[in-house]
C-alpha cells in the first residue's frame, strides 16, 4: 500500500526540482512559493509547491524571465485559471436554468 506524503522540506524540494538551495531561497523570497510552516528553523512546504516551482523553472528556461517576472506571470496565470473555472461554472449554471 502506498502512502501519501503531505509535506516536503527544503532539501526534498531542492532535490525534486533539481535546484540548489540558494536559488530556492530566492524563489521563496519573491513569493513564488510560501513555506507553510517553519519547523525547528527549517522550511516545510505543502507538496503542491513542487509543481509550482517546476512550473516556474520551465517558465524561466523557456521565456528567459527573472524570478520576480515569473512570480507575476504565475499570479496572472492563476487568476486566468480561476476566471476560466468561474466562467465555466456560471455558463453551466445558466444553461441549467435556461434550457429544458
Amino acid at each position: 500500500m502506498t502512502t501519501t506524503v503531505m509535506v516536503v522540506d527544503l532539501d526534498e524540494l531542492c532535490q525534486s526540482v533539481n535546484l540548489p538551495r540558494d536559488v530556492l531561497v530566492e524563489i521563496v523570497e519573491v513569493g513564488i512559493v510560501e513555506p507553510r510552516e517553519q519547523r525547528a528553523g527549517h522550511w516545510v512546504f505543502d507538496y503542491q509547491a513542487v509543481s509550482v516551482v517546476r512550473r516556474a523553472v520551465r517558465l524561466r528556461r523557456e521565456f528567459e524571465l527573472d524570478w520576480p517576472g515569473i512570480a507575476l506571470a504565475l499570479r496572472l496565470l492563476d487568476e486566468v485559471d480561476e476566471l476560466r473555472a468561474e466562467n465555466r461554472y456560471l455558463r453551466q449554471r445558466l444553461a441549467r436554468l435556461l434550457e429544458d
Binding site: T2, T3, T4, Q48, L59, Q92
Partner: protein, 322 residues
C-alpha cells in the same frame, strides 16, 4: 523514422538568421507552452517547437542537421546515413529530465546518451541519477471524493538502461487511496513511485493531478454543491415536498409557498466533505419554475380563471423605471 523539418516547425526559412529563429521560437512558445497555453495539443506542439529550437539555436547542431537535410529527406522514412557520426557534444539535460525529444532527434544528436556523463568508451563510471518525477491527470467522480476509498491508477513510466538510453515504457498499476475531501486541481504525491533511478539512483515521485469530472446533476462551487430543482408553477405557489438527489441518496425537501424561480434552499452538510475536521460544504437547491409544454382545454380554463382573478403584474417595476 520520420524526417523532422525543424524549419517548418518554427515557421522560418532555411536561411533564417539566429535572431529570426529566436523570435519565431519565442512567439510559438508563448502560444503553445503547456504552462501558459490552453490550445488543444499544446504539449505535443510545444515539444516539436522546442526540439526544433534546440537544434537550430546551436550553430553546431544546425550545421549537422543542414548536412542531413542536404543528404536528403527524400521519402517519408528517414535513416541516418551509414557511418553517421554526430560531432557536437550533447550538452542538454540527461535523458528523462524535462526534455523528451523525438526518436529522430535521438538518432541524430542523442547517440551520446547520458550526455557527458557516460557512453564515451566507458572510461568513466556512469553517474547516478534520481528518476524523473511523473505527473499525470486523474479524473475523479465527485462520489469518489466522499469515502476515502482506494482506486487503481494505471500509468506508464519511462525506462532507461544504465547508459541512459531509452527503453520501452513500463506499465504500472497502483492502488491509490483518495483522501476524503480531495478537491479539483489538487495533487496527490506518491513518494518513490515515479521513474526508476538511473544507475541505482533513487526513484522519482508520482504526482496525481486531480480533475473532478463534471457531474450530470450537481455543479461544484468550492465545497458547496448546487442542484437545479424543476418545479411546477403551482408547486412554487402552494409549496410542496419534493424528492431531491444528494451525493448520498435522495432526501425530501420542503418548498415553501410563494417561492420564486431561482430561489436557493440550503441543505446543510450535503455538499462536498472537507479535509480533516472542517465541516462539509452545503447543498443548494435552486428552484427552476417550469411551465407545462401544452395545456388541455380544462387546464386552459383554469389558467384563464387565474388570470382573471389574480391581481399580479410581474412588470409593475417597468412602469416606474422605463
Amino acid at each position: 523514422m520520420e524526417f523532422k523539418d525543424y524549419y517548418a516547425a518554427l515557421g522560418v526559412e532555411p536561411d533564417a538568421d539566429e535572431k529570426a529563429i529566436k523570435t519565431a521560437y519565442r512567439k510559438l512558445a508563448r502560444k503553445y507552452h503547456p504552462d501558459v497555453s490552453k490550445e488543444p495539443d499544446a504539449e505535443a506542439k510545444f515539444k516539436d517547437v522546442s526540439e526544433a529550437y534546440e537544434v537550430l539555436k546551436s550553430p553546431e547542431k544546425r550545421a549537422e542537421y543542414d548536412e542531413l537535410r542536404r543528404y536528403g529527406p527524400q521519402g517519408p522514412q528517414f535513416e541516418a546515413p551509414p557511418g553517421w557520426q554526430p560531432r557536437g557534444g550533447f550538452d542538454g539535460p540527461p535523458p528523462g529530465h524535462e526534455q523528451d525529444f523525438s526518436d529522430f532527434f535521438e538518432q541524430i544528436f542523442g547517440g551520446r546518451a547520458g550526455g557527458a556523463q557516460g557512453g564515451f568508451g566507458g572510461a568513466r563510471q556512469p553517474r547516478q541519477h534520481r528518476g524523473q518525477d511523473i505527473e499525470m491527470e486523474v479524473p475523479l467522480f465527485l462520489e469518489e471524493t466522499l469515502s476515502g476509498d482506494s482506486r487503481p491508477i494505471s500509468f506508464s513510466l519511462p525506462s532507461y538502461d544504465e547508459y541512459g538510453r531509452k527503453l520501452p515504457p513500463q506499465n504500472k498499476t497502483l492502488n491509490v487511496k483518495i483522501p476524503v475531501g480531495t478537491a479539483d486541481g489538487e495533487r496527490i504525491r506518491l513518494k518513490g513511485q515515479g521513474a526508476p533511478g538511473i544507475n541505482g539512483g533513487p526513484a522519482g515521485d508520482l504526482y496525481l493531478a486531480i480533475r473532478l469530472v463534471p457531474h450530470p446533476v450537481f455543479d461544484v462551487d468550492g465545497r458547496d454543491l448546487v442542484v437545479t430543482v424543476p418545479v411546477a408553477p403551482w408547486e412554487a405557489a402552494l409549496g410542496a415536498k419534493v424528492e431531491v438527489p444528494t451525493l448520498s441518496g435522495r432526501i425530501n425537501l420542503g418548498i415553501p409557498a410563494n417561492s420564486q424561480a431561482g430561489q436557493r434552499l440550503r441543505i446543510k452538510g450535503k455538499g462536498l466533505p472537507n479535509k480533516g475536521d472542517a465541516a462539509a460544504g452545503d447543498l443548494y437547491a435552486v428552484l427552476k419554475v417550469v411551465m407545462p409544454k401544452s395545456a388541455d382545454e380544462a387546464t386552459r380554463k383554469l389558467w384563464e380563471e387565474l388570470a382573471a382573478k389574480a391581481a399580479f403584474d410581474p412588470r409593475a417595476d417597468w412602469g416606474k423605471r422605463a
